[in-house]
C-alpha cells in the first residue's frame, strides 16, 4: 500500500505537471512586433453538437484567406488564424478569451457561434480591449456588452420588419412557428408588431425547441387554422425539416422561412420547391460581388455556399480591411472598424458601422423562391 504521504506527493506532482503542461501547451505570447504574420483568433465549435457550423466557418475563412494572402495580406504580412475549439460552451469560451487576450500577436477575435458562448466571454474581451467580432451573434444585447463587441449582423429590428413587408405580398393570414431562443423570440415579437401595422392576421403561433425534429403536431395545428402562409422563424435545418414534413401533415399553404440557403435546399431535396424567403444575397443573384464570390466558392469546394460560410468570409475580409485602414494592432482594428465607410461585404455591398456597432443602412432584402432547386427572385 502506498502511504498517504506518498499519495500527497503524487497528487501534488500531478497537479504541478498539469499546470506546467498547460503553460507549455498554451504557446508563447509573441508580441505584435510589426513583422511576421498577422493573427486573428477564432473561438468556435470544432467538436460537439454545433461542430457543423465550425466547419462552415472554416470554409468561409479559408476562402477569404486564400484571396487575402494572394492580395498581399495586410501591408505585405500574411494573415493567419489561431483556432480554439470552444464547442460553443461558455465554460470553454471564457478561458479561450483569456488565452487570446494574453497572446499579444492576436489583434482581433472572431466568433463565438452562440449567444451564451460569446456573451459570457465579452467581459474578458472588453476589459482587455480586444475586438470581439460576433458575426453570428444576433442577440441585440450582444453589442451592448461593451465598446469592443461588434457584429456585422443586421439588427433584427430592421431585418425582420423588411422581411414581414415582403411576406405580406404573399398572403394575409399567417401561421407562425418560431424557435424558442433569444433570437427566435425577438424576431417573432418584431414580426407580430409589424404584422399588426400591415393588417395581417396571425392565425396560429407556437414556439418550438431548436432540437425539435418532428414538426407534425405543430404543422397540423397550423394547417387547421387555415392560413395563406406558414411562416417558420428558424434556420436552414428547421426549414428543411418543415418543408419535408409539411406535405405529410396535409399543409397546402405556401411556406415562408426566415432563412433558407443552399444548405437547407440540399437537405430538403424536392420538398424545397416553392419555398419562399427573403435574402440580401442568393447564389443566382446578378450582383457582380455575389457572382464572383459564388464562383470562387464553387471552384474551391464544389458546391454552392450557404449562410454561415458567407458570414465567416465576410467577417474576416472586414477585419482585414479594418486592419489595413487602422493598422495591424488591436487598437488599429478597433479604429478601423469605427472609421471605415466602405467595409466589404458579399451580403450587403459596402457598408459602415453605426454607433451601436451594427451595420448602418443595410440593403433591403428581396423575396426569393426555390425553382428547380435554386433560388430566384419571387413575385408576390
Amino acid at each position: 500500500m502506498i502511504s498517504s504521504k506518498r499519495r500527497l506527493l503524487i497528487g501534488a506532482l500531478t497537479t504541478t505537471s498539469l499546470l506546467v503542461l498547460a503553460a507549455c501547451g498554451e504557446g508563447s505570447g509573441t508580441s505584435a512586433d510589426g513583422t511576421g504574420p498577422v493573427y486573428f483568433g477564432v473561438s468556435a465549435p470544432v467538436t460537439g453538437q454545433y461542430a457543423e457550423y465550425g466547419k462552415f466557418y472554416k470554409q468561409g475563412f479559408d476562402l477569404a484567406l486564400d484571396q487575402i494572402n494572394a492580395d498581399g495580406g495586410v501591408n505585405g504580412r500574411k494573415v493567419k488564424l489561431k483556432w480554439e475549439d470552444s464547442q460553443s460552451d461558455p465554460k470553454q469560451s471564457v478561458p479561450i478569451a483569456q488565452k487570446f487576450v494574453n497572446d499579444k500577436s492576436i489583434i482581433a477575435e472572431l466568433g463565438d457561434f452562440s449567444s451564451p458562448a460569446s456573451m459570457a466571454a465579452s467581459p474578458v474581451y472588453e476589459r482587455n480591449k480586444l475586438v470581439q467580432y460576433g458575426f453570428t451573434n444576433s442577440s441585440p444585447k450582444f453589442t451592448l456588452g461593451g465598446q469592443y463587441m461588434w457584429s456585422p449582423g443586421i439588427s433584427q429590428a430592421t431585418a425582420e420588419v423588411q422581411q414581414t413587408d415582403e411576406l405580406a405580398k404573399f398572403g394575409k393570414k399567417v401561421a407562425v412557428i418560431y424557435q424558442n431562443t433569444d433570437w427566435g423570440k425577438q424576431v417573432f415579437e418584431i414580426f407580430q408588431e409589424r404584422a399588426e401595422k400591415l393588417g395581417l392576421t396571425v392565425t396560429y403561433s407556437s414556439a418550438y425547441l431548436p432540437s425539435t425534429t418532428d414538426f407534425r403536431p405543430l404543422l397540423i395545428k397550423a394547417r387547421d387554422s387555415k392560413p395563406d402562409l406558414v411562416y417558420d422563424i428558424g434556420y436552414d435545418n428547421d426549414a428543411a425539416a418543415i418543408l419535408t414534413q409539411a406535405p405529410k401533415a396535409g399543409v397546402t399553404a405556401k411556406i415562408f422561412t426566415e432563412q433558407l440557403t443552399a444548405t437547407g435546399i440540399k437537405l430538403a431535396g424536392e420538398s424545397a420547391e416553392g419555398a419562399l424567403t427573403t435574402a440580401t444575397w442568393f447564389p443566382n443573384s446578378t450582383e457582380p460581388r455575389v457572382k464572383a464570390f459564388t464562383k470562387a466558392f464553387k471552384a474551391k469546394y464544389g458546391h454552392v455556399p450557404g449562410a454561415f460560410e458567407v458570414y465567416a468570409y465576410d467577417a474576416l475580409t472586414q477585419l482585414v480591411h479594418a486592419a489595413k485602414k487602422g493598422g495591424a494592432t488591436r487598437q488599429g482594428v478597433y479604429q478601423g472598424l469605427k472609421s471605415s465607410a466602405d467595409l466589404p461585404s458579399v451580403q450587403y455591398g459596402k457598408f459602415r458601422f453605426q454607433s451601436d456597432r451594427r451595420p448602418a443602412d443595410p440593403p433591403t432584402p428581396v423575396a426569393v423562391i426555390v425553382k428547380n432547386g435554386e433560388q430566384v427572385p419571387a413575385e408576390g
Binding site: L18, P90, Q92, L144, K248, A249, L267
Partner: protein, 605 residues
Amino acid sequence: MIDTLLAGIIHGNTYALVAIGLSLIFGVSNVVNFAQGSVFAAGTMSGWWLIAEQHWPLWAAIAGVCAFTAVLGLAVNLLAVQPLAKVPPIAALLATYAVSVVLDNLSQVVFGPDTRRFPQALDTLNFHVGGFRFGTLDVVMFAVSVGCILLLGGFLKFTKYGQAIRATAQDSDAALQMGVPVGRVRNLSFMLASALGGLAGVLVGMYNSNISPSSGTAAGLTAFTAATLGGLGSLPGAVLGGLALGIVEAFGISYWGAGVDNLIIFGVLLLVLWLRPGGLLGKVPLISAEPLTGTFLGGGRPIRLRWWQALALIGVAAGVVPWVADDYQLTTGTQVLIFAILALSLTLVSGSAAQISLGQAGPMAVGAYTSALLVGEHGWPFLAGLFAAGLAAAVVGTVLMSPTWRLSGHYVSIATLGIGAVTVAAILNLDWLTHGPLGITAIPPPSLFGHQIITPTETYLLDLTVLLVALGLVVRLQKSFLGTVWSAVGADETALGASGLRPADYKALAYAVGAFVAGLAGSLLAHQYSYLDPTMFSPELSMLALTIIVLGGMNSPFGAVLGAVVLVGAPEVLRMAQDARLLTYGVLLLLLIRFRPQGLWARRA
C-alpha cells in the same frame, strides 16, 4: 384530433424502437446503458453511408447496419460493462456514458459534423387518413415494434438461449451454477439490443430525414423516459411507453405549443415516478435488484488528509498559485473551482447517502438565476444574493424531490434526472420571471465592500474562498452524527428503517444541503459570465458533476476537488490535441473508470 393522435403514435414509435434495446439490456444486465443512444446514432450514420454513398439496396443496408451495431454492442459490453460487474453498478453506468462520448466523437470525426439528408428509401406519403398523410415507412416502423415484442418475446420464452437470458436476468449466480454460460449470454443480449438499436437508427433516420452524428444523445434521453414510463425491463412496456409518450407529447404540443416539449417529456417522467414508479407494465422491484445503489464503502475508503496537509494545500492554492499562474491558467482555475463546488454538492447525497443524482444542473440553475435577478435587477448586495441563491436552490429542490424519497435506488436517480430537466424547461418557459430564452444579461460582477471583483486573480480567490467554506461545511457534516446516519442510509436503508429512523427524511436533508451548495456554484457562475440562459444548464453539466465525484472518490470531499482539476482542467490542457480532444477525454474517462472505479482519492478496501 385523429391527425394529432396518428402523429403522436408514429413519432412515439421512434422512441419505442430505441427504448426496446434499453429495456432489454436493463432487464438482463441491470445496467442503464447510456451508450444505446450512440449506437442508435451509429446505426443512422452507417445506414446513410451504405445507402447514400455505397448505393446498397435497403434490405442489404439494414443487414449491414445490424451486423455493425451488434459488433459495437459486443464491444461496449466487453470494454465497459463486463469488467465492472463486481463493482458498484454506478461505475458501469458511467462507463457506458464514457463510451457514448467516444462513439459520438468518433462518429463526428469519421463522418464530419454536417447535417445531411437520409435517403428516402421507403415511401413516406402513400397513405392518408383525412388530411394527414403517412407512408410505408411509418407502417414498417410500427410493424417492427410489434414484431419485436412478438418475436423477441417468443424467443425469450420458448428458446433455450432466450431462457438462458431470462435466467441470467433473474439471478446470474444461480444461472452460472446451473451451467448457463453467463458471460456469453450477456454478450448475446448486448448484441441483440444493439442490433435493434441499429435498425431503429436506419428507420428513424429515414423518418427524420435530417441527420447528423450528434442526433443520438437526445434520442437516448427520450427513449430512457419512454422505457421508464413503460417499466424498465419490460419489452412490451418499452413499446407501450414509447407510444404513450409520443401521444402525450403530440397533444401537449397541440394545446400549449412546442416550447414546452421538454417540460412535457420530463414532466411525464416525474409523474410516473411519483404515482407509479414501476411504469405502466413493470413492477417495482425489490431493493436488492436496484442497479444504482450499493455500498460504496465496499468500493473504497477515502484517504483522510491530516490537518497540516490540508493547510499546506490551501496555502499553495491561495498563496502560490495566484503568483505563479498567468491569467489564462487562473481563468481555467476559476472554472475548476466552480465545478468543484458543484461536484461537492453531490458528495453527501450521492456519496454518503448513495442517492445518485443525475440532475445537479437544476439546483445550480435555480441558484444562478436567483442571484442574477436579485443582485442584477433588484440591487441586492452580492453576499446576500449568494446566500439567497443557495437557499432558493435548496427550497426548490426539496419541494420538487419530496414525493420521490419514499422510493429508492434507480427510481430516485431517474427522478433527479427529471427534476434537472424540468427545472431548466420551467426557466425557459417562465418568461415573466426569467426572460425565458432571452436570458439575463449585464449581470454585475461580484462586489464585496464596495470593491468589484473582476480580475482573474480576484475571481479565483473569491471562488476558492467559497469552495473552502463549502468544503468545511461538507467535511464537518460528514464527521457528525448526521453524517453517520447518511452513511447508514447508503449502506443499508432497510436496517436504518428498522432501527427507528426514517431514511426518506435524511435523504431529503442530504439533497437539500447538496442543492444549497450547488446554488452557491450557480451564483458564482452567473456573476462571472455576466450572462445566463437556460441552455447553459444541460444534462451534460449534471453528468459532468457526477463524473467528477466518481473519479475523485464518491465519499471524499477532497476527491471532488481533485476530480474537478482532472476533468475540467484536463480538457484545457488537452487543447493541444485539438480535434481529438473530446475523444481523448472519453477514452481517459473510460480507462479511469475501468481500472480505478473507486476513484482517485480512495484506498481500495
